[in-house]
Amino acid sequence: MPRATPVLGPAAVDVTLDVNGHARAIHIRPQRTLLDALREDLGLMGAKKVCDEGTCGACTVLVDGRPVYACMTLAVATAGRAVETVEGLAHDGGLHPVQEAFIAHDAFQCGFCTPGQIMSVVALLRARPDVTADDVKRAVTGNLCRCGAYPNIVAAALAAAKRKK
């Protein structure tokens, strides 16, 4: 029988998150969402707080490779799981192919939803490089864009997929 896990909180506790491959220790109360932990405790401002109620996708990050809404995820619950944010995509000064495709296809206007859109597309293309427009739409249905960059987002994702093949 596994040993009972200790009860954390309600006072602040030490939690170590794995963010973009780095162990990051923070001191938070259990009600801290992953989004607030990223933005307020770790200074990672890529994921945006737009609705804060799991409806828009601007806070989309990957947990164990899958896209989730960071605003509806408790940071304590992600301890021991791999969290990836838009800040972790570019390496050695080179952009991720999805990032490049977003620029080339003008897949954003104000840019506020963009980090979330990109993370959704990155997760999709990692799982299956061979995608159709419908696959892309399924992946980003939960990422609203008020500027209406959708046609270009789909085009960018398909172009990035083609490049990755």
Partner: protein, 325 residues
């Protein structure tokens, strides 16, 4: 959100023990965290179930039916080719359910236990009956999305789950466990009968958790389909949805189940409607008779009368699709 303590349960027994008064079980959190942020829930302790082994995934054993662990993420149900062969309605019902992120986070158990989306209920400042107030604000208010049937003069919320009607159409049973006991009930009985006028949507008891959903072998013989009408092409709760399942031979439907979402406080099923269909060669007229029986007691409010023709059309569409397949 109010401060709370957090604990990860390692087993069903431990979870059940930890779920004392003032506690809430956390799985995907897609509804619970929203309720807490909205001031509609303030548990002192969250018991995270997601670390429990054995409640994730599905198995199919002849004689034991199809068992789906309550903690299985919706996306795994949706993407499983094997499950799609046994129970294709699940993939169909999930295709237009919420968004990918919510299906990644959300679990089967959480989907069945999600609370309703009535905008009066969801507004903390509105003292509606379900929240302990004296009346339903939708009756004289903005009720285009509300129930047309089965309210028994009470709460006009509608059942929001896409999976519940689909699973009920396959005679799903749901297993619940507490520190003291375990029980298995028809899934339909997980939803509180509106006629009881109780201020709760589910019959789950304090300290219980949902452990699995079981589809009996007999129901796996049925073909099923799910149709959903929304007021946007995606990312919407159903205006009306219809899950239908039947054994189909020679264009005749037998052993039919028709369950509606979005029209009543619970997944809406009227057995007499299914008898209108059973054994008949399919025709639009047969479907219309079934739909008439399903909605015989409908009493629309000011703005939701459109749900009647919409529901009738979706019933027709679902049955026609079954008959044609």
């Amino acid at each position: 959100m109010k401060p709370f303590a957090y604990v990860r349960a390692g087993s069903v027994a431990e979870a059940a023990r930890l779920l004392g008064k003032g506690s809430a079980a956390l799985a995907g959190g897609t509804d619970l965290i929203g309720l807490m942020k909205g001031g509609l829930a303030a548990p002192a302790r969250l018991v995270d179930l997601t670390g429990i082994d054995g409640l994730r995934g599905w198995t199919r054993e002849r004689g034991a039916g199809l068992r789906i662990g309550a903690l299985t993420p919706l996306v795994e149900l949706e993407e499983s080719e094997g499950l799609a062969r046994h129970l294709p309605i699940v993939r169909e019902a999930l295709a237009d359910a919420a968004t990918l992120q919510l299906r990644v986070m959300g679990t089967l158990g959480g989907n069945l236990l999600q609370r309703n989306r009535c905008w009066y209920f969801r507004d903390q400042a509105v003292p509606c009956w379900l929240k302990g107030g004296t009346r339903c604000f939708a009756v004289d208010g903005e009720n285009a999305h509300h129930a047309i049937v089965g309210t028994d003069g009470g709460c006009n919320r509608v059942s929001p789950s896409d999976l519940a009607p689909a699973l009920i159409a396959h005679d799903a049973r749901v297993s619940l466990a507490s520190a003291r006991a375990a029980r298995t009930i028809p899934l339909a009985e997980l939803f509180t009968d509106p006629a009881l006028h109780r201020r709760e949507e589910h019959t789950i008891r304090p300290g219980e958790i949902v452990t699995q959903v079981v589809i009996p072998d007999s129901a796996l013989q049925r073909r099923g389909t799910y149709v959903k009408a929304m007021d946007r092409k995606a990312w919407s709760f159903a205006l009306v949805s219809v899950a239908a399942a039947a054994r189909v031979r020679d264009g005749k439907l037998r052993d039919t189940r028709i369950v509606l979402g979005g029209v009543a406080p619970v997944p809406w099923r009227v057995e007499a409607a299914e008898r209108e269909v059973d054994g008949q060669p399919y025709s639009d007229a047969v479907a219309a008779r079934a739909a008439d029986v399903l909605l015989a007691d409908a009493h629309p409010l000011k703005d939701n009368g459109y749900k009647i023709p919409l529901a009738k059309e979706l019933v027709r569409r679902a049955l026609a699709r079954l008959a044609a397949a």
